[in-house]
Symmetry: C2
Subunit: 408 residues, 2 copies
């Protein structure tokens, strides 16, 4: 049994960085149509220019811009129409001074032309001649080769979550498949003699399992593949067998419950029994969530989370999510909403306090309204839009103070 010394969140994350530096995910190749929500495992560079021909942004006539310099409503220039470009076809004609060709929006601009004059600014004189009434600058109404993406430019970066517009950009560049990180495999084990299957009749003194459901869903939301969801009794041998089996095929094993320092604190012992270095964090200076264990064995990550559903959820957000996103090299810059605190909020000195809030949209912006509930109240989290972190060296929050809200 190691000495119980509580770490700050910062210390915990540093220790995790150090211990889990050799924990890596594999990489797999997926079709871009199936890449949504996955994380790019390498940057992809365009092998093409987009577009790969000069394209018109208007319906009009391709011209040498210099032919129109100085023309106006009263002094047009007359140009010979040498042809008409069809959508999706190469422009075969060549434009020299005094010549022009019709090009539809999105069509290819013929060689020699450097601008498009809109149909609104010309008049058809006869079948072979137009009068152009507007001075047009070189490059006007033209998307040039490589204007959208140039050959060699990055289409997506390693660690980026793939969004619909990224898939569009990859398609535009003719990229059929990309390398993404394999889904981190996670096992979720809830321990507790009082925990019962939610859908069985329960006996007085028992409570229904919550953590297996919330922790699995949160892991899946981040892109993990949850291989095991299990509830077991608070028994050393049972937990040892269960964790041992889970370690075989998972990157991360989560055990909720059994992490307090009572007579039934078996999680720490089981993690230590799995191999070196075993438990390296035992207690975090946060509220709620203090009785948290982080360990490593067989090159995998093991977490002992509090049994209280709200605490387990907060600890997941703070430490497990950190590791999951880090494994995927994902930029872990969580977007936060700026809000004004609606009332004074107390905090626990010496601990980073997590305060659940709901948001109200006002004329001036968002108002963060603290929600309270007794420890363990899962309905509290269900009613919350997010939470505020109050640093350990700060004494609560003042009404009207600006706060950052992390969404749940």
């Amino acid at each position: 049994m190691k000495l119980l010394k509580v770490d700050t969140i910062k210390q915990v994350l540093e220790k995790m960085d150090e211990h889990f530096s050799d924990l890596k995910l594999g990489v797999e190749l997926v079709n871009i149509g199936e890449a949504m929500g996955r994380t790019a495992a390498e940057s992809v560079v365009s092998e093409l220019n987009i577009p790969d021909f000069n394209r018109s942004t208007v319906d009009g006539y391709a011209i040498k811009a210099s032919d129109t310099f100085g023309v106006s409503e009263s002094i047009p220039v007359f140009l010979d129409v040498v042809g008409q470009v069809e959508m999706g076809k190469a422009a075969e004609m060549k434009i020299t001074s005094g010549k022009t060709a019709y090009v539809p929006t999105g069509g290819m601009i013929p060689e020699g032309a450097d601008a498009m004059i809109m149909i609104e600014h010309i008049e058809e004189v006869d079948n072979h001649t137009i009068a152009a009434y507007s001075s047009t600058a070189p490059g006007e109404n033209v998307i040039k080769i490589g204007d959208d993406v140039s050959k060699g430019e990055a289409l997506i970066y390693k660690g980026k979550l793939v969004r619909p517009q990224d898939i569009g950009t990859l398609a535009a560049a003719g990229v059929r498949q990309i390398k993404v990180f394999e889904r981190p495999r996670v096992a979720v084990i809830s321990t507790g003699d009082e925990i019962a299957d939610p859908f069985e009749a329960i006996k007085l003194g028992q409570v229904r399992d919550i953590n297996t459901y919330t922790l699995s869903s949160m892991a899946e939301e981040l892109g993990a593949f949850v291989t095991i969801k299990q509830v077991i009794r608070d028994d050393y041998s049972l937990l040892e067998a269960s964790v041992k089996a889970a370690l075989e095929e998972n990157h991360i094993v989560l055990v909720s419950g059994g992490s307090s320092v009572g007579n039934k604190d078996v999680t720490a012992k089981v993690i230590d029994a799995m191999g070196e270095p075993g438990v390296f964090v035992h207690g975090i200076a946060i509220k709620p969530g203090k009785p948290t264990i982080v360990g490593k064995a067989k090159g995998k990550a093991l977490f002992g989370l509090p049994g209280h559903p709200v605490s387990a959820l907060i600890v997941f957000k703070v430490v497990v999510e950190y590791l999951l996103t880090k494994l995927m090299s994902r930029e872990n810059q969580r977007l936060q909403l700026i809000a004004k605190c609606a009332v004074n909020v107390h905090s626990s000195p010496g601990k980073e306090t997590f305060q659940m809030v709901e948001l109200e949209r006002t004329e001036e912006g968002y108002l963060a309204i603290p929600l309270y509930g007794k420890s363990g109240a899962i309905s509290l989290v269900s009613r919350s839009t997010g939470f505020i972190r109050i640093p350990h060296n700060k004494e609560g929050l003042t009404k009207g103070e600006t706060v950052m809200v992390e969404l749940l």
Copy 2:
């Protein structure tokens, strides 16, 4: 051919509300473990109290609080230990004045007790007696029956997106399955003589299909089931056959391209040919995205979106997403980030302008930095974190002005 009158976004959404009031989604029953990201189709009320017994939040002794009134470090009260409650078991003993029983954290509090005194505040005198050194208030360290959720309280509301914590709350209440809206079925058709399959060799003058990919992914991200992804030539008969088939099995048909008023404006004609009322919006006063069509036929929704990828994406966000979330009765209160505008931004008077931005986190909050690219530049959207809407009656944005950023 109807008169081309451009509507404001507000007018378009009102017309959609009116025309699509009879477009409804079916409902299906799913296990709560598979409900993540789906939308509740009815509110669910708890049939139980959570917890359904008085529960201890500490390791300690169950007492009648009044027995400790006035006690202190120097004047303890001595209590007879009548037993020990086991986790997950009913408390069989009864506490009367002068009696107590040990209860672990999460254990059931015996009948007659109304508070818990922590082990830190007692001393074991012998096997049958403790000395209590702290005055304890009624209800202290106790979660009472129904404190988390009371019988009859709502666990989730109709129209709510199911999150991990909601699944936990439902599990806690023993709810195995919930009714969710069926996935809206969506067909995505891109038209254009220049559009080619992204993964085939393309000819000069052709461009690779982008919209099928982005529009499908965006619809899927919102929970839709995309049944058709198709690229066809700008040909009336082909498009008519394709849209007709798509209408059979889908709630929404998206056609991108072919919606401008050029000589190839076939989308509007095809939608009108599908049945009454046909096209009821032809043009929206937004930039980009003006050439947008909304119609109805056979009780289904049809959209003609611009061919330009950025315009198509914006229009999807503004009108298609509105309908999709409305069909699922989902609260469409999109969360927006408050930011300061980094520079002056121009807008198009008379049109609601959409400006792509990236966000920079500063000491004071977020800074919205406008990103520019030529029309059709999909890479612009890929580089953007979100967009700002500039109302049609507002002349651009001023550096330092507070803006709301919608995330992409």
